[in-house]
């Protein structure tokens, strides 16, 4: 693993250090690297637009920014088939249970990108009686993309940080990232009922 790529991000740097410190077997690491290459270059996102940021996300998919270039080709509408959930826009109290459920419905390995001020802290609506002040209260977040709404370039930067994070993870033989939570099996109607 080339560490130079990760110099500008302390969090990823720690991940890489941890990854290299344990010194896994050569077969496992090579396989891991190949799998991580595949996973990081094929992050299909769940379309989860609640407000303004969703429009910028659409612009991201459109011709000028064309996120298909980087392997974010497909956006899936079913959480079962998505690798990451881009939370685009304010999450309200009424929506919180739905978001949590969608996250639970996704298949592992899964990632969360919090886009925009609202998802990070409540943004301009912080202090309202019906707004969740940061989605990290509900689901674990991997990457935060600040802005209101962020520019498409900022989206790209954030999504590439996620790609890097995936590359620095261990896939086979234990995890070096996120706490593993007990996974509940949920059966639903796809959209929350």
């Amino acid at each position: 693993m080339k560490t130079d790529e990760f110099k500008n991000n302390d969090y990823l740097q720690r991940l890489v250090d941890k990854l290299n410190a344990d010194g896994a077997g050569i077969v496992l690491t090579t396989l891991d690297e190949a799998i991580n290459w595949g996973r990081s270059n094929s992050l299909w996102s769940l379309t989860f637009g609640t407000s303004c940021c969703a429009i910028e996300f659409m612009a991201l998919g459109a011709a000028r920014y064309d996120m298909a270039r980087f392997g974010f080709e497909v956006t899936r509408n079913s959480p079962r088939q998505a690798d990451m959930i881009m939370v685009l826009g304010t999450i309200t109290w009424k929506m919180a249970s739905v978001l949590r459920r969608l996250y639970d419905q996704m298949a592992d390995p899964k990632y969360v990108v919090a886009v925009g001020g609202c998802t990070i802290s409540g943004g301009p609506f912080r202090g309202s009686y019906h707004v969740v002040e940061g989605i990290d209260k509900i689901i674990p977040v991997d990457v935060y993309i600040p802005g209101c709404p962020p520019r498409p370039e900022a989206f790209f930067y954030g999504m590439m940080q996620l790609q890097r994070k995936v590359k620095a993870e261990r896939f086979l033989g234990g995890r070096n990232h996120k706490e593993s939570r007990p996974k509940e099996e949920t059966q639903t109607d796809e959209t929350a009922e």
Binding site: A34, I35, W37, G38, R39, N41, S42, W44, A62, A63, D66, A68, R69, F70, G71, E73, V74, R76, N77, S78, R80, Q81, D83, Q105, A107, D108, P109, F171, E185, Q187, T188, D189, E190, T191
Partner: protein
């Protein structure tokens, strides 16, 4: 003419193997080898088709398409996706009918592998050859709809049920048109054996031989085949904007991957059958009388012809998909039962008359 016949190659391999071991073992070994070949070819073709689709749709949509993963052409984008899907968790649902839920993706992929095995790649390069070849393709491809119906029903979700019912209604309807148009070509060729249908087109492709009825049949076949492959504007069963992902909403990981692969391979099979029936399969382009041209054409191996024609039809179908909005279910059924089916019957009649009175070229 031998058209790069590989029958002799087949026989020599068989001969060598038989001389080394008992014949039964040799046949088993050959069977395994051919089976592996099919699966590898199937997977490779799926990758090529998905890559092609991405490039084609990017071009139609004024985009660039994948260009980072694997060099400037983004050649490794699809392999990366495959790797990802392979390592993804397969979710099992608590309230689903577990047996049928797990069976459905295999049925879908099985159906398309069966039909895939019948495609005539070259002289002597057909994998399954039987007298009723084209009939077998029709029969095998209808297993696919069973898989879709089961997938939708066993997931125990409303979206998937709607998707499955739509797909069932549509595919069963359009199979009539496909059957009738295939019948037209069988009438013209006088055989159901796929290789013989190809050989029949030695002088002139069927689409020219059968002139008006064949041309009409070709159009009807393309429309119905597009519907059969569940692709836009007939992708009601998946209908992303209505049913999120249609009948495979609840599938994840490689189970979903199977549906995804089958979708693209069905596209290839539809196009392959179209090129076999109407455009001469692996048969080079011949014009009676122009021996010079025919000889030049014969230089190009059959497999190139077949793949070339098939991909041309695939491109046409992709073009259609990325241009038109989706039809509504009642419109889809109206189109079939009120227009295409009667039209196909008329085509069959026309073709019969043409054949009886010797009006074919």
């Amino acid at each position: 003419m031998n058209y790069y016949d590989i029958n002799s190659l087949n026989q020599s391999i068989h001969g060598t193997l038989s001389s080394l071991m008992p014949e039964g073992l040799a046949i088993t070994l050959e069977g395994i080898a051919v089976g592996l070949l099919i699966i590898v070819l199937y997977a490779l073709l799926a990758i090529v088709l998905i890559y092609m689709e991405r490039r084609v749709c990017a071009a139609f949509q004024c985009r660039i398409g994948p260009n980072r993963v694997g060099g400037r052409g983004g050649l490794l984008q699809v392999p990366a996706d495959v790797l990802k899907i392979l390592t993804k968790e397969i979710i099992s649902l608590r309230h689903a009918d577990r047996f049928l839920y797990n069976l459905a993706p295999f049925l879908v992929i099985l159906a398309s592998i069966f039909s895939f095995a019948c495609l005539p790649w070259n002289q002597g390069a057909e994998i399954l050859r039987m007298d009723i070849g084209i009939f077998f393709v029709l029969a095998a491809s209808s297993i696919g709809v069973l898989g879709i119906l089961l997938a939708g029903w066993s997931s125990n979700s409303k979206y998937t049920v709607i998707g499955a019912v739509r797909s069932g209604a549509m595919i069963i309807s359009y199979e009539l048109s496909i059957g009738l148009t295939v019948l037209t070509m069988v009438l013209l060729s006088g055989t159901m054996d796929i290789q013989e249908i190809v050989m029949e087109q030695e002088h002139l492709w069927n689409i020219f031989r059968g002139h008006i009825p064949a041309l009409l049949a070709f159009c009807v076949y393309l429309i119905a085949g597009n519907a059969e492959a569940n692709r836009g504007p007939f992708d009601l069963a998946e209908a992303e904007q209505e049913l999120t992902a249609g009948y495979h909403t609840e599938y994840s990981g490689m189970h979903f991957g199977f549906f995804y692969l089958a979708e693209y391979l069905n596209l290839f099979i539809t196009a392959g059958i179209a090129s076999t029936l109407f455009l001469g399969g692996w048969m080079p382009f011949h014009i009676p009388g122009l021996d010079g041209l025919n000889a030049v054409m014969d230089w190009i191996p059959g497999v190139v012809w077949f793949v070339g024609k098939t991909f041309a039809v695939v491109f046409l179908l992709m073009w259609i998909r990325w241009t038109f909005p989706r039809l509504r279910i009642d419109q889809v059924l109206t189109l079939e039962w009120k227009y295409l089916m009667p039209l196909s019957l008329v085509i069959v009649l026309l073709m019969t008359l043409c054949v009886i009175f010797g009006l074919v070229l």
